[in-house]
């Protein structure tokens, strides 16, 4: 069965390692914070100027001066630091963040990603996404494998305006975990109960299936 949002986040969480500095994008990526394995510690970076983001505040802890990149009220953990946007993106652009997780509209077999604009329809801006994909090699993209109408989001070539070129190597969808290299999607894991045929059918870009493809282990 296809994964739900929480399960996608759970699968991404298994990419975390003890001591990682991590930037989580808006949407499903934010949920990853709920599934950090108990035996490891990670520090969350919020690009508006916070290293060491904690959980949402209790009702009486809400602080307008303390928000995350999604403009939600948050808290800071012990050992956190605040800094300017320039310093924040020095961290990001300078490759000091160990892992970035972000959503996308489309990803293609060359690792290009489109996530910020649908011409004539949606004009919100790229925020920090272009900097994030340029800043680290270790990026996980989370998205549904196909749109509600069944159109694949894993393409031969992105059709929407790009966020970055040749920068994505890992994708977790509701159907699979795939790696991107040498101009193709490599199927590494299937969502529990999802067939290779279904994944093949919903992947428009070149898909390479080698050997036995195990089911994901969640949690």
């Amino acid at each position: 069965m296809a994964l739900n949002r929480e399960q996608i986040a759970q699968r991404v969480a298994s990419e975390l390692r003890d001591g990682y500095y991590v930037n989580l994008g808006i949407g499903i990526p934010t949920l990853v914070a709920n599934y950090i394995p108990e035996d490891i510690d990670v520090m969350l970076q919020s690009e508006n100027g916070l290293l060491g983001m904690g959980p949402f505040p209790l009702d009486d802890e809400v602080e307008p001066d303390l928000i995350n990149a999604g403009k939600q009220t948050v808290t800071a953990i012990t050992g956190a630091a605040y800094f300017s946007s320039a310093e924040s993106f020095a961290m990001i652009r300078g490759a000091h963040v160990d892992l970035t997780v972000l959503g996308a509209f489309e990803v293609d077999q060359n690792g290009s990603i489109a996530s910020w604009m649908i011409p004539g329809k949606l004009v919100k801006g790229m925020g920090g996404a272009m900097d994030l994909v340029a800043g680290t090699d270790n990026i996980v993209v989370t998205m549904t494998h196909a749109s509600k109408s069944g159109q694949s989001k894993l393409l031969e070539s992105c059709t929407l305006p790009l966020t970055g070129v040749n920068c994505i190597h890992k994708v977790v969808t509701d159907l699979a975990y795939l790696e991107i290299h040498d101009g193709a999607f490599h199927l590494r894991e299937r969502a529990p109960g999802v067939s290779i045929d279904e994944i093949r059918e919903k992947t428009a870009g070149q898909l390479i299936v080698e050997g036995e493809v195990p089911e994901m282990r969640l949690g």
């Binding site: 809400v62 939600q72 004009v123 070129v165």
Partner: protein, 233 residues
Amino acid sequence: MSGFNKVVASYDEALAGLADGMTVMVGGFGLCGIPEGLIQKVKEMGTKDLTCISNNAGIDGFALGMWLENRQIKTMISSYVGENALFEKLFISGEMEVILTPQGTLAEKIRAGGAGIPAFYTATGYGTEVAKGKDTREFDGRNYVLEPSLTSDYSLVKAWKGDTMGNLVYRMTARNFNPMMATAGRITVAEVEEIVEPGELDPNNIHTPGIFVQRLIKGSFEKRIEQRTVRSA
């Protein structure tokens, strides 16, 4: 110190000289750390044809949303404007020019402007629409885009505390774009929650030294929250 007293008594004085067609930077991330009183005053002044540089464009009816309603902005340079329906309308209709700029590139362009760096290379945006018409160059096998810096006629920033000499400190994530914008303004006006005497701020922990600040005013702040998000106990 006579020559170093940056305190002004009124918003009129704080924004004296601001004129149609100027470039204005406005600090803040969303509604966090914005100079509320200065924004309100510019709305009342009705200054037009502004080039406005700010990470976001406020929300409908508040903050920079008021300048949009008033049609005071000719060109907007931002990274993310998703919170504002009127913005999208003005953009799509072509009533307002919009230069969407990646957030880190925007922050660095402003820092560079304040630091006398006319342009720098960044990998951000290479191969995307952002790089269109810009010089690119390879360093060590990777491709980069040349980004020119940004400066302003007026930078309107918000700080937590400021001493009378213009030294500023910010609080939590309300710092965001304010320190860089303070350096990049021909005239930088800081609106603060509290004005203190010189010596009350720890010289080791000044976020913006007074050399960057021309005018200082005590504001009052509503501090509206965009996304109040809580957990249960």
